[in-house]
Symmetry: C2
Subunit: 233 residues, 2 copies
DNA sequence: CTCCAAAGGTATGTCAGCGAGCCATTGGCC
DNA sequence: GGCCAATGGCTCGCTGACATACCTTTGGAG
């Protein structure tokens, strides 16, 4: 049973401002939106965009520095840069099965919906190029960087729905699922299969085949979903 | 263009604790989860569930009292009750078109996905009864209470996916869309048509016809979506 | 009738988070 | 070589939010 009120009277805030800020920055880095070597926006601008004070943002950045994830340089053309070598993430807490199913359900709904929606729009040349570029990056990715490139492709698909809320929701759920995926091994055969599926999804989106894109995405997601259910139950 | 970074470096918090708490309470009331005449959870419990201090929760409740939405009674078996007669909501701010499309896109993805997912599960007798009850309530609703009963039915569908996150996301997006819908008139013919579509969606969910449930929900949502696009563009 | 449990109402001390301003460093431009 | 704009680094006072404790009201149980 999952009473409706539990879903509505859930916590208003996921954590304090500091924690949520760290979470956001990690999201941008782990999902490959700001790749290794690149610079985050300047503190003053980033603080404004995140709706957080510069002091709080700096505390968050500081904790990423301590974790070896970013480095800051002063002076003009300075800034905060994502390290080229990202440290392996620590194993998180134990995950309950209901929590897992919840995340997987939401992911399926959001990502299959996004694929269908993206295919149903008339994409601009920039968007089409973006999709193809992310697909190529993903195919040629090493094992160590695969999850990041994979997420980056999925986010590109989300982005091409034109809905910022949808994109944000997908980013959030991907963070939840990736945290779980990091506990199970990533094997080259899975990776090759995944690339084939990506190709199919992107092709159908570019062809405007909404129903086909949805089905291809559903099949793709089912792969990791059943892997996860197997490993964590 | 909707750069990916805009979707990720969005504000960490939608407002201060007080505002977000008011929003949550309004959500429960406007979406019909706590119907007129019923009692909210006790302050101490509600504050805990919302992850907010009792002082802040009380400020929020106070502002709902001032707006004539709830009333508080002291003593044992007292509490905070939703008023039987809810005041008409004030016309909100002007809405931009991109914001509208964003909300509608997200709604379509979430709700068609939820319908499909609900149909694909084996629902328990309680869930089946719940769906039928909400459907009946909706059919027999007066104009004034239609949006609330309608939302309550859609939330029951969301709930029967078993995913709390999905249910919460649907509640959020419905609040956004309802705010827009309140600016356009609700006519009896629309209402009758809507009821037919509801019936179709629920029937297909109960029959386990996932693809059909999705299509029926998509059609249902298209109705209000095109109405909205017409009125607000 | 009395008591008391459960609910709302109130007060207070503490701390996180904010805004604003200033300092320190750096590298390109003139 | 000197200037200066853009960046990170730092400080201080103010306010919102919180935890905690206590008070007041109410209606049923005994």
């Amino acid at each position: 049973m999952m009473p409706l009120r539990d879903a509505l009277f859930r916590p208003v805030r996921a954590g304090n401002a500091f924690e949520e800020t760290v979470e956001r920055l990690m999201q941008a880095i782990r999902l490959g939106v700001v790749p290794p070597g690149e610079r985050l926006p300047a503190e003053r601008e980033l603080a404004t965009r995140l709706g957080v004070s510069r002091v709080t943002l700096r505390e968050a950045i500081r904790s990423l520095q301590d974790a070896g994830i970013v480095e800051s340089r002063r002076g003009r053309y300075g800034g905060t840069f994502v390290n080229a070598e990202l440290p392996a993430s620590l194993p998180g807490r134990r995950v309950e099965v209901p929590e897992l199913l919840d995340a997987l359900t939401l992911r399926t709904v959001l990502e299959t919906g996004a694929a269908e929606c993206a295919a149903g729009r008339s994409l601009g040349p920039g968007e089409r190029r973006n999709l193809r570029a992310r697909l190529a990056e993903c195919s040629s990715a090493e094992l160590a960087e695969y999850r990041r490139k994979d997420s980056r492709l999925h986010l590109a698909i989300a982005e091409s729905t034109g809905s910022a809320s949808l994109t944000g929701a997908i980013a959030d759920v991907r963070m939840r699922v990736n945290e779980l995926l990091e506990r199970i091994p990533l094997l080259p055969p899975n990776l090759a299969h995944s690339n084939d599926q990506h190709e199919l999804v992107v092709t159908r989106i570019l062809d405007g085949d909404a129903e086909g894109a949805r089905r291809a995405m559903a099949e793709h997601l089912d792969g990791t979903a059943s892997l996860l259910r197997g490993f964590l139950s």
